[in-house]
Symmetry: C2
């Protein structure tokens, strides 16, 4: 009998197929042909991108020159434009505003042939730290309400370039799923006076551990109870923090290790699948106080990692009602058992 | 400058690229190789499917034998099972129930080589009428809250079989987007004491007509103001009705004509793209009365048709925040101008 499971935060029901659960061998991943470098994200080709907005450099190397480790540049084909006012206006009963926002590319390494999972823990720490710097910086611009940090790896996941990179989009509106998570987390807080994510982490590490992939000092990686996609994995900090930029210096290495290990486990178990990840963090300019609690108290940032193993059918595409052919317990078991290549 | 547009019903913001708007020639549709028949949906192969639950037959032909025009069979690989109780239960702080539901296939024609757009208006009327019959019948089962009727055409849209068919899934929960639309429609009704869809149709047919594709006696086809996808088209009845099964006999032909024409315009203008459609209708067992109005008064059924021209990137996949490269005004113009093949 298949199961219907409800996501505790936003209340979304998902169909989980429990019979004939799809295992990694049931998914076909078409290996992508590697295009050789150099490309314009490579070291020595800095002049071929728009001028950098941020870079982590050693030895006092000059901007837009070699010598960087992580480099942030504006997207050449931005979805939103950095200049201009919002000009909110009505169009009949509808609403619109100018597409003002930032769209940046975080080049994760100067080396063309390394993917994120190939980088060492210290280098991944630097990338994560760069995310925090960009989020904080963009937060100073009053026009923006949110920064979405995400990564597409592989053509099937929407990546047009193979050189390892992630992206961010700063938007003048709060994305819909963020609002949904905020509303869900707040209503749980009103009821329990506790963070729903903290409670969920405790449940999944103490009461049931079958969906757990990793459990370190500071972080857990797990396949969520109502996972929408096969092998969907969330990484959450065990310490309560609503905002990704609250990560402390001492915690970056731990998070980098968890992210690196999960990606390498996926690579081995699922044959290097295309994937996306997205960081769910709190919006800027959140209210300071509330009767029942604030976003500071009730929201909890996390990573969502989604390997692209299935096509979305019409039904899912148009309805937000997902059918997941791999129970999260099976996915977690497979990933727990996977041994990353040395 | 790109635009941010907000869907008036559910409040979702969408990025619309206005510069370099993508026109049909910017999308690559890989033509699908037709697999020759007969297949188990063909006339004469009725024994190869599960026994039919409904069929439109002439000349008193017997069930599960040739002589049908539209035939409904249970899905051989159902996402949900028809037998059993719901057994709602908690799993720690999470919720689950048995995956009870109906999953049926509506075989649209006995002929292997015809697609929905090839069928004549009268035959399409019959398919639409069959949808109403199946929805009404499943509504008598107290376990179900909703029936989703949808169609995947083309492999890229999730169809595993080429013989023309649509599907329905009856679920014991209301899908998330239905809830969102109901909440949005209700809050507009509370404010205005009018149906938001009726107002929207009037705006798009009287005030602005640039997004209009067709406007017949009973129906409009339009590309919505905040379309998520290029060439996304909605078909709405001009007469207020919350439920798809309220279509009157005299209206089937008009709707069939609009659906048929839109699909044929898409086929010509977009080179026979894979597509999905989904019917948005009201849930079963809706409250009879409310202080401000009922679903009867504030909701309005409609078709959403989505050609699959783009891949969803990670950002859209995980955030519900869409980037649409073709403004709906451009899409509507292209489809208005498209002349279906004779």
């Amino acid at each position: 009998m298949p199961e219907l499971r409800r996501d505790p935060v936003i209340g979304r029901w998902v169909i989980i197929s429990t019979e004939r659960a799809k295992r990694p061998s049931d998914f076909t991943v078409v290996p992508e042909v590697r295009r050789p470098g150099p490309c314009f994200f490579c070291e020595g080709h800095e002049a071929e991108t728009p001028p950098e907005v941020f870079a982590l450099r050693e030895n006092h190397s000059a901007p837009n020159c070699p010598g960087w480790q992580v480099r942030v540049v504006p997207n050449k084909y931005p979805a939103l434009r950095i200049e201009g006012d919002l000009n909110r206006e009505g169009v009949g009963m509808c609403d619109m505003m100018n597409g003002v926002g930032a769209h940046e590319v975080i080049v994760e390494t100067p080396e063309h042939d390394k993917s994120l999972a190939d980088l060492d823990e210290f280098h991944i720490s630097k990338i994560l730290w760069v995310y925090t710097q960009r989020i904080s910086d963009l937060g100073r611009d009053d026009r923006f309400k949110y920064v979405l940090v995400f990564k597409n790896q592989g053509e099937a996941a929407g990546a047009s370039l193979q050189h390892a990179h992630s992206q961010l989009i700063a938007t003048p509106v709060t994305p819909k799923w963020v609002k949904e998570e905020l509303v869900g987390a707040r209503s749980y807080y009103e009821y329990k006076q506790r963070c729903i994510f903290c409670d969920y982490i405790k449940q999944e590490t103490r009461l049931f551990t079958e969906r757990l992939v990793m459990n370190t000092e500071g972080f857990v990686a797990l396949s969520p109870f109502a996972a929408r996609f096969p092998f969907e994995i969330w990484i959450l900090p065990k310490r309560h923090m609503c905002d990704f930029t609250y990560i402390e210096g001492r915690e970056f290495g731990d998070l980098a290790n968890v992210l690196r290990t999960v990606l390498n486990k996926m690579r081995v178990a699922l044959h290097d699948p295309p994937f996306n990840f997205i960081i769910h963090t709190s919006p800027f300019r959140r209210p300071r106080a509330g009767y029942w609690g604030t976003i500071e108290q009730d929201y909890h940032w996390h990573f969502e990692i989604i390997p692209r193993l299935t096509k979305m059918a019409g039904f899912e595409w148009g309805s937000g009602f997902y059918i997941n052919p791999t129970p999260p317990e099976v996915a977690a078991q497979v990933l727990r058992d996977a041994v990353p290549e040395a």
